[in-house]
């Protein structure tokens, strides 16, 4: 994906994500930032705008996604607080925002077809777009270097396999 600019919100072309690698059988894209605890990725598209989605390990441990819902466009988001809800296996739980800001858009395609977030987690299965309120303060705390992203992801896969949450 590439940011193509815009007046008051981001827009993205539908090109395949750069830096796609396979890590222990799971796809991972290295062109963006990751929040280690929530499995959310953040793809900045300028100094104050970003797209957010869930990595493949996050969707895998959620179970088959049945429903997704998001706060309304214009809602204020706080890092560590929910920006929406995910339902899988009759379990409704929060989608936790890795950043603070204002909701610019929710992906209606993924609301209509939650499986899109599983099939294309780094592309068309994105979740929301956000106007960042503290990019300088929050983005540096996310994982950004390819090596540290891969190390973190490998550790998570191995941990989840050990716990029996995902298949060996």
């Amino acid at each position: 994906m590439a940011h193509t600019g815009g007046d008051d919100r981001a827009s993205w072309t539908a090109t395949p994500p750069a830096g796609l690698v396979q890590v222990l059988g799971f796809p991972l894209v290295l062109d963006r930032l990751y929040h280690s605890r929530t499995h959310m990725w953040v793809l900045p598209a300028g100094p104050d705008v970003a797209r957010i989605g869930m990595d493949r390990l996050g969707t895998e441990t959620s179970g088959t996604l049945a429903q997704l819902s998001f706060l309304a466009v214009g809602a204020e988001l706080a890092a560590g607080r929910p920006f929406g809800q995910l339902e899988a296996a009759k379990f409704v739980g929060p989608l936790v925002s890795p950043v603070s800001g204002t909701m610019l858009a929710a992906n209606q395609a993924v609301v209509a077809d939650p499986g899109l977030a599983e099939r294309d987690p780094y592309g068309d299965g994105w979740l929301i777009e956000v106007s960042l309120s503290d990019a300088a303060g929050e983005l540096p705390a996310l994982l950004s270097a390819p090596d540290e992203i891969i190390d973190w992801f490998v550790g998570k896969v191995e941990d989840y396999q050990l716990k029996g949450w995902i298949a060996q």
Partner: protein, 340 residues
């Protein structure tokens, strides 16, 4: 010192309170109150929809005529009919005490209920879809959710089940889908009328043991009582009942689908003038009712040909019936049993 598991038996309460009481407990546990195992029984029948589900899945006109209130809960699952023949239970813990994997959390928090069913004399087991079953029948409805920083898993002991009414409250496409849904409901959902007191005692013992907590009779905290008042208001508001904004939901529901239990569902769908009402059991067509211009005398043959066919093979089977068959296959394509 062992931490406490509050055991709260709310007894027989109004339909509204049979929902708001345990939601209040979840907010309390989120705010730091001890974990809780609670029980409640609704005094009167009502309908309850899962957090994300549309009101259009409920026959609201019928519910109004029958005086059945409709409430929206904060946990998952579809619309359900609830009445005095069901004892609800809820286990509520701080989110940090629950596995981050939702499936693992569900298995962990439903396993003690299975133990309790067995202790009460029911040969219960937890299937791969985290449903509590006896044989191939579902015997316990469940839902789960994270409310604030607490996780709650709820379920029910079904002492008596009104299959007819549980089907009637649903908004279904037509009489064919209603009849098929009722048939499967009778086949795959069963009551287990055990001694209620023994079941409650077994639940308390099983959950306290599994969680390493000391069970003690409890009551609502001041925070929970405050929340209860707020929840009573929220759950009776039209705004809450309408559900979360989901602009794409209508598009997602291309077929009217009803899950009876995991892997068992019915659907009704159309493509052009072709129409399908079918039941699906573990990925294969159980029964199909077909209508398509031009199918004429081949209708019964096509219906018979579909029985026992895996959903993925339906287009191949229907292709033998020419243009009408292909139109029917397009209607079948709207069904997606994985996400209901």
């Amino acid at each position: 010192m062992t931490d406490v598991l509050r055991v709260i038996d709310f007894g027989r309460v109004t339909p509204l309170r049979s929902q708001t009481l345990w939601h209040a407990v979840a907010y309390g546990v989120s705010a730091g109150a001890p974990p809780a195992l609670s029980f409640a029984r609704p005094s009167d029948p009502y309908v309850c929809v899962g957090y994300h589900r549309g009101l259009d899945e409920v026959d609201e006109q019928y519910c109004r005529a029958e005086g059945l209130p409709v409430y929206r809960r904060m946990v998952g699952g579809g619309p359900v009919y609830l009445d005095v023949g069901q004892l609800f239970f809820q286990i509520c813990l701080p989110a940090r005490a629950v596995p981050a994997s939702r499936l693992d959390a569900l298995r962990t928090l439903l396993a003690p209920a299975v133990t309790a069913f067995r202790a009460a004399g029911v040969a219960a087991w937890l299937d791969d879809d985290t449903e509590i079953c006896a044989g191939d029948r579902k015997i316990c409805g469940h839902g789960a959710g994270q409310i604030g920083d607490a996780v709650v898993v709820c379920g029910n002991l079904i002492e008596r089940f009104d299959h007819e009414r549980a089907t009637r409250v649903l908004a279904l496409a037509d009489q064919a889908q209603r009849a098929e849904t009722l048939r499967l409901m009778r086949r795959y959902v069963a009551a287990t009328p055990v001694d209620t007191a023994a079941f409650r005692a077994a639940m308390t013992s099983a959950y306290a043991g599994a969680l390493g907590l000391a069970a003690a009779a409890g009551e609502l905290t001041a925070t929970e009582l405050d929340r209860l008042a707020e929840l009573d208001g929220r759950f009776t508001s039209r705004e809450w009942l309408a559900g979360p904004a989901m602009a794409g939901r209508a598009q997602a529901r291309r077929a009217r689908q009803v899950k009876v239990r995991s892997g068992v569902w019915t659907f009704a769908a159309e493509s052009g003038d072709a129409r399908v009402v079918a039941s699906v059991v573990r990925g294969t067509v159980n029964r199909a009712h077909l209508t398509a211009p031009g199918l004429n005398d081949s209708t019964e043959a096509a219906q018979r040909a579909l029985a026992g066919v895996p959903l993925a093979s339906v287009p191949d089977v229907l292709a033998r019936f020419g243009g009408p068959g292909r139109q029917l296959a397009a209607a079948f394509a709207a069904a997606d049993g994985k996400r209901i």
